[in-house]
């Protein structure tokens, strides 16, 4: 059940590069990452690819297959025609290191900018009580495997490098939402979302949700609810009027 598959893989580094053609064996039940590994073992021993668990749980092998952001280990070869040429490229939004490996430090920088969980000060370990219905929303967001495909596909930074400063991206706006909805978090995260993490840049075009390998409803369950909370706070004309009249800030 094996055949010779045609592949085009981007090879190069920050000084330049391009698509290289390969013909390589493909067997039944394989995923794109298997093919990349076969290339390493047989034709291109120094082909750089980042991977780890190979089961869609760690989010390391993010790249783009035929132009679509995907995990290489979760992209089964059976979704392609045998005659099709499959193009594998690195994530576009992040600086290239080499071949399929990009520098994802943007994400770690943004992660640090989200203030951490703040439990009530007087609550001792072992005394935390939370109801299942209250943790479920945040639990959905904590399914995130940090593959950064949402960050990669989001046009706000993908097409506009200059927005990286102001915009934290879906992953970290979702992290803000996760903490905001955490039943025991005491911090106020609504203004932060808009002012520090650039929630307003999101125009809810849902590409983040489309590419999420964990099928997290990033837009519907995290981003839009945060926008609504911001609207509660900032764009409620009654509140706004009250603040004007009574000079609260």
């Amino acid at each position: 059940m094996s055949y010779q598959g045609k592949f085009r893989v981007w090879r190069g580094d920050d000084s330049g590069g391009g698509l290289e053609d390969f013909t390589v064996e493909v067997n039944e039940g394989e995923v794109v990452l298997d093919i990349i590994h076969r290339l390493q073992a047989t034709q291109a021993p120094d082909l750089a690819v980042r991977w780890n668990c190979k089961a869609g749980k760690c989010g390391s092998c993010s790249a783009e297959v035929n132009g679509r952001p995907r995990l290489l280990c979760m992209t089964r070869m059976s979704i392609f025609e045998e005659a099709e040429t499959i193009t594998v490229t690195p994530m576009r939004t992040f600086p290239i290191i080499r071949d399929l490996v990009t520098d994802v430090s943007f994400n770690y920088t943004k992660a640090r900018e989200v203030p951490s969980f703040q439990p009530p000060k007087d609550l001792a370990p072992g005394e935390y009580r939370m109801q299942q219905v209250d943790v479920e929303r945040s639990q959905e967001f904590r399914k995130c495997i940090e593959c950064f495909l949402c960050q990669n596909t989001c046009h706000v930074v993908r097409d506009h490098e200059e927005n990286k400063e102001a915009f934290s991206g879906p992953r970290f706006l979702m992290r803000v939402a996760e903490l905001e909805m955490h039943p025991l978090d005491t911090a106020d995260r609504v203004d932060q979302a808009q002012d520090d993490h650039g929630l307003g840049y999101c125009n809810i075009t849902k590409c983040c949700s489309e590419v999420c390998p964990e099928h997290i409803h990033i837009t519907d369950n995290a981003l839009i609810p945060m926008k609504e909370r911001v609207a509660d706070r900032k764009y409620d004309p009654i509140v706004w009027l009250g603040n004007k009249l009574f000079r609260r800030s």
Binding site: K54, S60, P115, S116, P125, M130, S138, H182
Partner: protein, 622 residues
Amino acid sequence: MPELERHSFDVLVIGAGGAGLRAAIEAREHGLRTAVLCKSLFGKAHTVMAEGGIAAAMGNVNSSDSWQVHFRDTMRGGKFLNNWRMAELHAQEAPQRVWELETYGALFDRTKDGRISQRNFGGHEYPRLAHVGDRTGLELIRTLQQKIVSLQQEDFKETGDYEHRLRVFQEFTVTDLVKDGDRIAGAFGYWRESGRFVLFEAPAVILATGGIGKSFKVTSNSWEYTGDGHALALRAGASLINMEFIQFHPTGMVWPPSVKGILVTESVRGDGGVLRNSDGKRFMFDYIPEVFKDKYADNEEEADRWYTDQAGNRRPPELLPRDEVARAINSEVKEGRGSPHGGVFLDVSTRLPAEEIRRRLPSMHHQFKELADVDITAQPMEVGPTCHYVMGGVEVDPDTGSSSVPGLYAAGEVSGGMHGSNRLGGNSLSDLLVFGRRAGAGAAEYVRGLSDRPAIAEEAVTEARATALKPFQQEGGENPYTLHMELQQSMNDLVGIIRRAEEMDEALQRLEKLKERARSLSVEGHQQFNPGWHLALDLRNMLLVSECVARAALLRTESRGGHTRDDHPSMDAEWRRKLLVCAVSGDGVEVVEKPQIPIRSDLLDLFDRSELEKYLTAEELA
């Protein structure tokens, strides 16, 4: 030669899984400047693969649970070979470590009264595993990662530098530890991205590198599991114990080939999944060993009743310790009653409603759907044993995680003793937390107590660099990928789940040849993100550790836990009193016997005498 990048820290933690991160948090909270060095990106460590949960006797679901019961279960699971002090500390401290995670922001599944929910698992007498669906490992890693970020934020507020006290060096490989006389002085390694070398000067190193599964062909372990910490410890002069004990998880995927070995969580069985052979028979009832007869049901009716009434019934045999289940599956397949792809059937679809399966086992549902095109709510899974965990590791002091080399610590899978001959499911995540914290504290105390910092001799650095660069200097030599495949095949076939003396002799001969060939490894290209080179360096570690495994396995002429000898099928109480210790000798290793420390009497009193008789010698019982 480009200038060497140098850093100085108080504590180096090698590995960023659960144990490494917990150790780093502890060392930092003791006020020490700490670095975490990890081969993958921060937050991708193999701990994310853990599914079932964290074992801790919190008694939230069944209030009869206590640390004593957990201790008993752990000792039974390990067939009494465990380091009892570690098992004791582990059982006592696990609840604290889990509660602590909640203060870091973890969100476990809840009970009705709002406490942490706990689930049943193989070998645990009561529902004991704190969990989040079937992605507990991910929750653990993310929580610890976020705690580290929060500590960095505190440091930023104080000093304006996020990395003032705690810095993560990701995608970094340590190739050698550097010593000053007897004691640890630092570590040498390279950035995987650029291939540039770095020297860390530090008086204490905590190894938290996980396991050795990548030496085997069918494994649930990721590429990182090349036994780096085991090998670093050996080369630094420390010893490994219990290396013959390797846990083959009974349920790994067997099809498609590219995912062969990937784990199918034990929770599938804990939540009602049953194992059947090709005749449709629930075969586990035929494999209940004598020592477990009073705890496990011998008929389907009682086993099924157990899911709703655990007090009045014995447990289903699917929940026997992992070694028993793995052996049972192995023999069903050998006797021709296997599934089409060489496993057996694990079925949860006829046992729970589809909605319930999706809720309780979301990532299993996802994994089978996406990788094997199998809908587990409607079809059985095909599963078979997969190399999962090494019980053996660095011999450490239970209380501090210190090895025999001053300044060298180990925690988590890379350390040995805690799990004896077989680890219970759920005990690894709690192990990481309990002993990660202890190693962090132990290293901190050690550093505090030093009167002078160790110095690094330049020759050591030159030598480490030369060793690392050697594969580039040789042209037309061996291909690391080929060598790796041969090693995996040999270990799988000859030192795998069922072992024989002749086969292990052959394994040792093959290892000798592989070692010989590994001297002439050569890699193409340059140092920048070069997977061929990375593998060439990892191979050195895998070969060294594999030799320990094979030598120890050959010596131990009994079957116990994760070590099954076809030629010595029974357990021998005399062997329980002996540990096999592996240390470097010449360019290989040697394994010697060492007496096991007797179990403290008050801990022995936790067991019935009739049970102890199954494990201990008459002399010990007297």
